[in-house]
């Protein structure tokens, strides 16, 4: 497959697209995009790239960020990958103690040491430098070089050498380029902290900016821009302007980044000098691609920062995404360096092509990027392909097929860090389209030498792609790991087996395997298995007979881990009827009450002994008495309360106690997924960024000042962004719902509370079991159109969409919060009305999220939401399908009165009524199945 040229075309039938494998005629790709393949150009030669492994190294990253992106970047770029690698270490380190970077000797030596002898050396240096300053004797340069080297090396190890500043400047009058570079380096480092002294350097830097040698001009300009002293800005404008017009491309490259630096020091000066316009001109005309790339990245940054201040800038920002500009970049993409190619691919990913032909043209042009030696380029291309085809189910599916091979190659070649990052992306894709990889599961078998973090992710992959066809092989493989020397991996693999068991219908073989684990007599294996057997029993009560027989043989003395002990005790209580010696085992456990340090275990013990008592009173009575006495005397608040509660309950009425503690239970059908689909979609939107590696959307881990949406949400008062609340609010609200659900599942609730109070991982199942049922009765979630569009092979159930709307909305509407805000302020209200919602809709509105998902299914996106019953407030937006006309909606819903207040603003006032109708009909189907 990897050998065939995939040619993305539209077939005769207007509704069906297919991918053909055929040799391409040279002019394929339409009029606009004519691939340039000029491999005899010198440019392509010197990119003779490094081995893949080196592409992701920190050093490479740093250089890239300095040269192309100095200052800051406007998006989470592929560059941030290398960041992932440096940070991965820290995260894994803290979890597992696998690395011990502290043992690195360099680490300790490199701390700056305040050293008194150094002081003397520095003043010595100062003396020597002063002597050489005026000297013109032959050989002066050599001795200067030695001295400069010393100064730089002192600076490197953290010694304060700022005192030689003036001497360094005096010595800088030289034609030796090595000396100049060292001097620039020194000046760049110290000017920021010595603004007064920095003035001294301006003179010689300005002179150097007019040097004959382009190298010196460039270096001087770079240093000049790197001084970052606000009051020297006036000296910057002139040289920068000359630099942008310089005949040498290196100088122009430096100057473009210099403009960005200037912008960050003083944005007003930069804009007043009209630099952005000059950059734009350069971007569209410069023959050197590095200059063009730097212009692009500088302009993206400047205009996105300016956009909130001026209309024009935001227009310019949008112009970057216009067809001519995007095509200009696409046509030149092969000339660009690898990192610049990533930049361009990022840009194109934001571009919304007008029709499918355009999409196919772009994809055909970029098809070969999937075979690029640089992993970042490959990933950026994949992102683009996925985004472009979101609305075309069939093609999207083919894209998955096409990207499989390159991704799998990236996983298995290169460093473990790279494998990890790519595996994270594969994991994301697998969760979206599990069937696709179900035949490639062997790629995710763990090799012995792989680091823990890679193995763990591979286990997650295996779990995610287990299907009926491959379960047997995968579970067999996982069982191999259970006997692994590496204990954490053994644990993880047992958990993985359990997870597969919980997601499969045919669990015969798996249960047998799990029970075999119990016979291995390894304490950690037993512990993990017990927890899983407990979960299995909650889902498949029909297996209780086989499991109980084996579990009954386990001596509770061999189980030490709290989670496992709690699981065992739960089974003892739940199946007291079937386990002969359950009361006696419980009794012996209660005898050791004092030694039981985990509150979770004690809570479970109380509940289990209650259950046991209600089934076999004569045998358990004594144990129950002991347990209640010990529980009431317990220092742990929850244990104390639960014991007291049971005591009073029994006192009040035994049959009520029976109904509370031992209600008839339904088997848990689905254990809740910790991440909801909206978060997953967000992560998917941020493909090829750290979000995927961290498995959370960027706003959850980025700095506050960089979070666009949050600034917005704060301004809007107590509103929160929909997704953010999704993670926290949902769970708490579920708990609350649970609380309201009085007696129905009290024992379950108590378990969950015990668990959460203990902060242990034994929390999700018990809560979700009941709350899921709860949700299921109230609000069958509407299937999301976005998911359907991905073509996961599911029957595409068109949403109960409004009868053919006269107005078509863009399925992939995007609008950043600042633009929303700006538009909201500028536009007048075109429609304002009240609308009474149907009762089902109100009932389904337990959390704002449910509505968000529903509206998203109707191509209406939410930008902010918040509130609690009965008052909810939402801000939605939508875009017209063909043109970039936007609708903004403020929607306040009172679930008590079933009223919704709508305020609609629109770019195009004439269509606002049509949109209002569409919005209402979308709202009216909310809550219906």
């Amino acid at each position: 497959m990897g050998l065939e040229r995939h040619c993305w075309v539209q077939t005769e039938s207007p509704l069906k697209y297919e991918k053909k494998c055929c040799p391409l005629s040279p002019d394929f790709g339409g009029d606009f995009i004519r691939p340039l393949l000029n491999s005899s150009s010198p440019f392509i030669r010197f990119t003779s790239s490094k081995p893949i492994s080196s592409l992701f190294t920190g050093d490479r990253f740093l250089s890239a960020s300095i040269e192309y992106n100095d200052g800051s970047s406007s998006s989470i770029s592929p560059l941030s990958f290398s960041f992932a690698f440096s940070t991965l270490r820290s995260s894994v380190e803290s979890n597992d103690g696998i690395w011990n970077s502290r043992s690195d000797p360099d680490f300790d030596n490199s701390h700056p040491k305040p050293n008194s002898t150094r002081k003397g050396e520095v003043s010595d240096l100062k003396m020597q430098l002063r002597q050489l300053a005026g000297s013109r004797a032959p050989g002066t340069d050599d001795s200067k070089r030695e001295l400069f080297k010393k100064v730089i090396s002192y600076m490197t190890i953290g010694i304060d050498v700022s005192s030689v500043f003036s001497e360094m400047v005096m010595c800088s009058a030289t034609s030796d380029i090595v000396l100049k570079k060292m001097c620039y380096l020194y000046v760049g480092n110290h000017a920021k902290y010595n603004p007064d002294l920095a003035l001294l350097t301006i003179n010689f830097l300005q002179k150097d900016c007019k040097d004959e040698d382009p190298m010196i001009r460039g270096l001087a300009l770079r240093s000049l821009c790197s001084l970052r002293v606000a009051n020297l800005v006036e000296y910057l404008v002139g040289p920068l302007g000359l630099g942008l017009k310089d005949g040498n491309s290196y100088v122009r490259t430096v100057a473009t980044v210099g403009v960005l630096k200037l912008y960050h020091i003083s944005s007003a000066t930069c804009v007043d000098a009209d630099f952005p316009t000059m950059l734009k001109h350069l971007m569209l005309s410069d023959p050197d691609t590095q200059v063009v790339a730097n212009c692009l990245s500088a302009l993206q940054e400047i205009w996105s920062l300016e956009a909130s201040k001026s209309e024009e800038a935001s227009r310019e920002k949008e112009a970057l995404l216009s067809k001519p500009v995007v095509y200009y970049f696409l046509n030149r993409i092969k000339e660009f360096s690898e990192w610049a190619q990533c930049l361009v691919l990022e840009l194109v990913a934001k571009y919304v092509p007008s029709d499918s032909n355009e999409i196919f043209d772009v994809m055909n042009l970029l098809e070969d990027r999937l075979q690029h030696a640089n992993g970042a380029v490959v990933l950026a291309t994949i992102k683009l392909f996925l985004q472009l085809t979101l609305s075309m189910t069939d093609v999207h599916q083919q894209v998955y097929e096409r990207i499989k091979a390159p991704l799998l190659t990236l996983v298995s070649s290169g460093s473990p860090e790279q494998s990890y990052a790519v595996l994270s992306h594969l994991h994301l894709l697998v969760t979206r389209a599990p069937m696709l990889f179900s035949s490639d599961y062997k790629h995710f078998y763990c090799q012995y030498n792989e680091p823990f973090y890679v193995k763990k992710l591979k286990l997650e992959m295996l779990t995610a792609l287990a299907s009926e066809s491959n379960t047997y092989e995968i579970v067999t493989e996982l069982c191999e790991y259970a006997a692994n020397v590496d204990i954490p991996i053994a644990r993880e693999s047992i958990r993985a087996v359990g997870k597969i068991a919980l997601q499969q219908y045919d669990v015969n073989a798996i249960v047998d395997r799990l029970l075999q684990f119990l016979e291995m007599e390894k304490d950690y294996v037993t512990a993990e298995t017990l927890v899983l057997v407990k979960d299995l029993l909650r889902k498949y009560p029909q297996w209780s007979h086989d499991c109980i027989a084996v579990v009954g043989n386990i001596s509770s003395k061999n189980v030490q881990e709290p989670k496992a002990k709690a699981a065992l005790i739960w089974m003892l209580g739940e199946y007291a009827q079937d386990m002969q010696d359950a009361p006696y085992v419980l009794e012996s456990l209660i005898d050791n009450w004092e030694d039981e340090y985990s509150a979770e275990v004690r809570l479970h013990l109380l509940t289990a002994v209650m259950k046991c008592f209600l089934r076999r009173p004569p045998e358990t009575q004594k144990a129950l008495g002991d347990a209640l006495a010990a529980g009431i005397a317990d220092f742990h608040q929850d244990v104390h309360d639960r014991a007291l509660f049971y005591y009073r309950l029994l006192q009040y009425n035994v049959s009520v106690a029976e109904r509370v503690v031992n209600p008839p239970k339904q088997a848990v059908s689905v254990f809740a997924d910790p991440q909801n689909s909206e978060i997953k979609d967000r992560i998917f939107d941020e493909f090829n960024s750290l979000s995927v590696v961290y498995q959370k959307p960027s706003y959850m881990f980025t700095d506050k000042e960089h979070r666009g949406p949050f600034v917005f949400s704060e301004e809007l008062g107590n509103l929160s962004i929909g997704v953010e609340s999704a993670s926290n609010v949902v769970s708490t609200q579920m708990l609350e719902a649970n609380d309201n659900d009085l007696l129905l599942s009290t024992s379950e609730k108590e378990e969950s509370r015990g668990a959460s109070s203990n902060g242990s991982a034994y929390n999700a199942p018990s809560t979700d079991g009941s709350s899921n049922q709860l949700l299921a009765t109230h609000s069958p979630q509407p299937s999301m159109a976005i998911d359907d569009l991905l073509g996961l092979g599911l029957p595409v159930a068109p949403n109960p969409a409004p009868s053919p709307p006269p107005l078509k909305l863009n399925a992939r509407a995007v609008l950043d919060p600042s633009t929303f805000q700006q538009k909201w302020r500028q536009l007048p209200i075109s429609v304002s009305q009240e609308y009474s919602m149907n009762p089902q809709g109100v009932a389904a509105l337990t959390t704002p999220q449910s509505l968000l998902q529903h509206m998203q299914g109707n191509y209406i996106q939410c930008i902010a939401s918040g509130g609690q019953a009965p008052n909810f407030k939402f801000f939605f937006f939508a875009q017209k399908a063909e043109e970039s006309s936007t609708f903004l909606v403020e929607c306040v819903i009172n679930s008590a009165s079933c009223m919704a207040q709508l305020k609609i603003k629109a770019d195009d006032q004439s269509t606002s009524q049509a949109f209002a109708a569409l919005f209402q009909s979308a709202l009216s189907t909310f809550g219906m199945t």
Binding site: P23, S80, S86, T156, E480, F701
Partner: protein, 295 residues
């Protein structure tokens, strides 16, 4: 400045705590590195421009196929997974602007390919021919992956049994599938489980060493004609431990010169645009990558 960049990249400080520690502890050295780098690049750039077109006294080009075999073999000897990652490395010292065409006898076996930027895509797409103007010196022309291979050149059969406080190990190594060239530098390594107190292992060929980190390494070299190399011995377990529950995984190393085990064969290398006939050299090498044998 670094801080500026980091915040610029919108990464939370707490997330990259490790990175920060590094930055703080290394102080300015970090800055020095990154300050120097771009200009270094630039000087390389200049030199490249200056040197073209190149003049070489010895006109020669070497093409190497370098392959690594990754495999997992189960305790019952079954091949669970076997895959080859290969590279085509070219070392070119040619004058002028030579235009090279490299073709394979059986390109269809390649599963996924990635190219050096100098490779033209169209000839590859239409005829699976690598057409390129090589940069000077050593570079990686292409990397590829061949999956689902059916056999390995050597077999490694470990047998581990354990009872009454000891563990008996015997490992046999031999040629399964003669590649036609000598298999060299064969090694077998495994990690002793932590509960092993001492190990007594001997072999009938090659040296057995137990390294400080409890790794046992058996270097065999070549397989002799007259006998099959084997290593056997006992491991003494910690007192109180009746038998070993976890069995080690054996990692195998080997090297085969002259053969690309994936079966990929170079058909021919054509050179155009050259003043005189250059020397063309071809080599192939396969070595073990991650080659795990479970016991």
């Amino acid at each position: 400045m670094l801080e500026k960049q980091l915040t610029g990249h919108r990464v939370d400080r707490s997330i990259c705590a490790w990175f920060w520690e590094q930055v703080i502890s290394q102080g300015d050295s970090f800055k020095v590195q990154c300050e120097q780098h771009p200009s270094r690049c630039h000087s390389i750039l200049c030199s490249m421009e200056d040197n073209r077109p190149e003049k070489h006294t010895n006109n020669e080009v070497y093409v190497d196929l370098v392959e690594e075999m990754d495999a997992i073999i189960n305790s019952d000897g079954a091949l669970v997974k076997c895959e080859i990652h290969g590279e085509v490395q070219v070392n070119s010292h040619l004058s002028g602007l030579p235009d090279l065409t490299l073709s394979f006898a059986n390109p269809s076996i390649l599963n996924d390919v990635r190219f050096h930027p100098c490779v033209r895509f169209r000839p590859w797409e239409s005829h699976q021919i690598l057409s390129f103007v090589p940069p000077d010196g050593q570079f990686k022309l292409m990397s590829y992956r061949v999956k689902k291979l059916k056999s390995t050149p050597i077999y490694v059969k470990p047998q581990v049994t354990s009872d009454s406080g000891i563990c008996r190990i015997s490992v046999m190594v031999g040629i399964r599938n003669d590649p036609g060239k000598t298999i060299d530098s064969i090694t077998v390594q495994f990690q002793l489980p932590p509960c092993v107190l001492s190990a007594d292992l001997t072999s009938n060929h090659g040296a057995v060493n137990i390294l400080a980190n409890k790794t046992c390494s058996w270097s065999i070299g070549r397989i002799p004609k007259d006998k099959a190399p084997s290593m056997s011995g006992t491991l003494t377990l910690e007192t109180g431990l009746e038998r070993l529950r976890v069995f080690p995984t054996f990692q195998v190393g080997f090297k085969v010169m002259g053969v690309a085990l994936s079966g990929l064969q170079i058909d021919k290398l054509d050179l155009k645009n050259l003043p005189n006939r250059p020397y063309k050299g071809f080599r192939a090498l396969t070595r073990a990558g991650e080659f795990d044998v479970r016991s």
